[in-house]
């Protein structure tokens, strides 16, 4: 039975369970004046869940273990004795045999896979039957068990509540488990990288050119300091020089000076800026800002100015971050009690004195937290730098020179024809891990700061 039919049959059983349990509940309610803890539909739901869920769980487990069991069985076939030793060829033959057996392909490169196909089909068939039978039996057994519990004094309603809670818990666990999986894979690949390249070379080396790697000393050209510097320079210096003043000033204007009408149309426009896809910012940076920056530099007499300057990428990234900083600062300023403002105005302070001496200092922790979050976003930002920053890692303080970032290098390392166990490719994972750790720390610090600030006023 295919998985689809099987699911439909189990769902049908669930429906039958729901109907019969409901009918039984309606039956014992009829003529009785007692109050019941559960409605008929709760009994129905209870039986339906007991019918469907265990079988569905079993099918999930079965679907993930069955292919391995099938292969195992095929390998016990006499024809499998001719298979090459474990490795790429063996895997290729087996997968060819599998698709032949499933009827997905009609020819085979390897005659051996032709021979194995019937064994595959048989094993697959047998496994499918076992799986279907067990799933159906399970559905009957658990559904029947639940049906026997449908009695007037049984509290099906609270049981269903528990199932709902378990489902919600499972949904939230999926996000957490995925994150842990991602971290684990990053850690694993990075560990492989660091077993080839010394961690000190990577973290403190100042020369980065992954295109030419000396097999004897791969760490020599995999020093990531220029990348860290480029990332910091573009994301945390240039971008913040744009985003902090403009973001703060727009927040001050919007919260303190703007009339409700002005606020009504300005705030959504600012938020639209946050919704622009970063790839569009990338065009803007590469096609408009970068040439303009180079022209300005040339007119200033800097003839060697790069058309992929750190300044262009940083400026556009800063613009991208403005709404982020602005809305964080907006929230913090709005959280400062109005009494603070009145108190200062009543002392004879002007609006701008009130803002700079009372409101901003009071909102400062929130603003700092917002800026740290913005930095963490900026250094993780990829598309703008991929399109506008250079691929050459230089350790420079000059904003007109070319600079590259960690994210840009990760993209460069992983695109194109790469083998998956060379130091060059593995370096991408080490970079990713470093970036992940840095942004994680930034986020933790920022959220702690913001949280402490919130507590102060609530």
């Amino acid at each position: 039975m295919s998985i689809l039919t099987l699911s439909l049959v189990i769902a049908g059983l669930g429906l039958i369970g729901w109907l019969t349990a409901r009918m039984r509940a309606v039956g014992f309610r009829r003529g009785s004046t007692a109050r019941f803890s559960s409605l008929p539909s709760h009994f129905g739901g209870y039986v339906a869940l007991w019918t469907v869920l265990p079988a569905a769980l079993f099918l999930c487990v079965w679907a993930s273990t069955s292919p391995a069991l099938v292969t195992d069985r095929v390998l016990r076939d006499p024809a499998a004795a001719q298979l090459p030793p474990p490795g790429f060829d063996r895997a290729a033959i087996l997968s060819e045999a599998r698709s032949l057996a499933a009827g997905n392909s009609f020819g085979a490169f390897n005659p051996l896979s032709q021979k194995l196909a019937p064994a595959y089909a048989a094993a697959q068939n047998r496994n499918d039957w076992i799986g279907s039978a067990v799933a159906l039996l399970l559905a009957f057994a658990t559904g029947g068990f639940a049906y026997t519990r449908v009695r007037p004094d049984f509290r099906a309603r609270s049981k269903i509540e528990r199932v709902v809670m378990a489902c919600l818990l499972a949904a939230s666990l999926i996000a957490i488990v995925t994150t842990m999986g991602i971290v684990a894979s990053l850690l694993f690949e990075s560990w492989r990288f660091f077993s080839v390249v010394p961690i000190t070379d990577f973290l403190f080396g100042t020369h980065w050119s992954p295109q030419v790697i000396d097999p004897a000393d791969p760490g020599k050209t995999l020093g990531a300091v220029p990348l860290f510097w480029g990332t910091f320079f573009i994301g945390a210096v240039i971008a913040m020089l744009v985003a902090i003043p403009f973001g703060l000033m727009s927040a001050v204007y919007l919260t303190q000076y703007a009339t409700p009408r002005a606020r009504r149309w300005m705030k959504p426009i600012l938020e639209v800026l946050a919704g622009v896809p970063t790839v569009v910012y990338g065009y803007f940076a590469a096609l408009t800002v970068a040439p303009a920056v180079r022209d300005v530099a040339v007119s200033l007499g800097i003839t060697w100015a790069s058309s992929e300057s750190a300044l262009a990428a940083g400026l556009v990234m800063g613009v991208m971050i403005i709404p982020f900083v602005s809305s964080m600062a907006d929230d913090s300023l709005a959280a400062v009690p109005g009494a603070m403002r009145d108190g200062s105005l009543a002392m004879g302070a002007t609006s701008s004195e009130t803002i700079s001496r009372v409101l901003l200092p009071a909102a400062l922790p929130g603003v700092v937290g917002g800026v740290l979050l913005a930095v963490s976003r900026a250094i993780g930002e990829t598309m703008i730098v991929v399109m506008a920053a250079s691929g050459v890692a230089t350790l420079t303080l000059n904003p007109f020179a070319s600079a590259t970032t960690v994210t840009k290098q990760i993209v460069d390392l992983l695109t194109g024809e790469a083998e998956f166990d060379s130091p060059k490719t593995l370096a991408a994972f080490a970079l990713g891990l470093t970036l992940f750790v840095i942004t994680l720390l930034l986020n933790i610090v920022a959220l702690t700061v913001v949280k402490r600030y919130r507590e102060a006023y609530e």
Binding site: T259, P337, A339, M340, R341, D342, G343, S344, L345, A346, M347, G348, A349, T350, E353, R357, V358, P361, A362, A456
Partner: protein, 256 residues
């Protein structure tokens, strides 16, 4: 060029609108410089609104509009040439909820002198801060921790800090908008004691919900109802021998 006037602040035919709603209707009141005046009345009667016209704090509410003549030492405070910054330095205000700035105790009191440039140097500033805190009866409690945050003080101490902050710019009038409504009875008693001590040095106008408090701290009492001034006179008269029926009903607890 100020006209000699025995009243510190004189309000004549004051109307206040919030948008289309009239909050104060033709109120005329004079405040002398040597006594405490309390404004009483049920919630929403306009007493706080009226108080806020005296230092133009209603300016911060865009929809509010004030009509009539209010003079401070004979000067029209709503005249175009009136400097609001100077006005608010001369007419200080203490709010319902203590609102110290999230700064140190010292900086809270030094805030006004700093923005108005009242102190020539650090020593003078220190003197102003000490004098203000002493007058507010807070010096002995905080002299050893002037660098602590003002928000770390207790509610009553915070309110006295706010009074010290208002005193620090050497105002002529202090407006108090229900200064004790967020405080416990002991802290309230301290503030009332303080008002007694400040009397005579500053003209004090206090809005209060608590009629016993009005009777205890003030020499003059004005009773507001629905945006109009019902009765104004010596506190002892208002509480023992009100001329208006509505005043009598209110102070005897018939409504409010």
């Amino acid at each position: 060029m100020s006209i000699p006037n025995q009243h510190k602040i004189s309000a004549q035919h004051v109307n206040v609108w919030y948008g289309a709603k009239k909050a104060i209707d033709d109120v005329s009141l004079d405040f002398g410089s040597d006594h405490v005046t309390s404004l009483i009345g049920p919630s929403g009667c306009g007493k706080s609104t009226f108080l806020r016209t005296l230092n133009r704090m209603n300016d911060t509410i865009p929809a509010a509009k004030v009509e009539g003549d209010i003079t401070l030492d004979g000067e029209d405070i709503y005249a175009p040439e009136m400097d609001v910054v100077q006005l608010r330095a001369r007419v200080g205000m203490v709010f319902q909820k203590p609102n110290p700035f999230p700064k140190s105790i010292f900086e809270n009191v030094a805030y006004g002198p700093r923005i108005h440039g009242l102190a020539g140097n650090k020593t003078q500033l220190g003197e102003i801060v000490e004098r203000s805190l002493r007058r507010a009866g807070l010096w002995d409690e905080v002299k050893d921790r002037l660098t602590d945050s003002g928000t770390a003080l207790s509610g009553g101490q915070q309110q006295r800090l706010c009074i010290a902050r208002a005193i620090a710019v050497d105002p002529e009038v202090i407006l108090m908008d229900e200064p004790c409504s967020a405080l416990d009875p002991i802290a309230t008693a301290k503030i009332e004691e303080l008002i007694h001590e400040l009397k005579g040095r500053y003209a004090i106008v206090i809005v209060t919900h608590n009629m016993q408090q009005a009777a205890r701290v003030s020499q003059r009492t004005a009773f507001f109802h629905l945006g109009t001034l019902i009765e104004y006179g010596a506190t002892s008269d208002i509480f023992t021998n009100p001329r208006q029926e509505r005043t009598k009903d209110y102070i005897t607890g018939r409504y409010g």
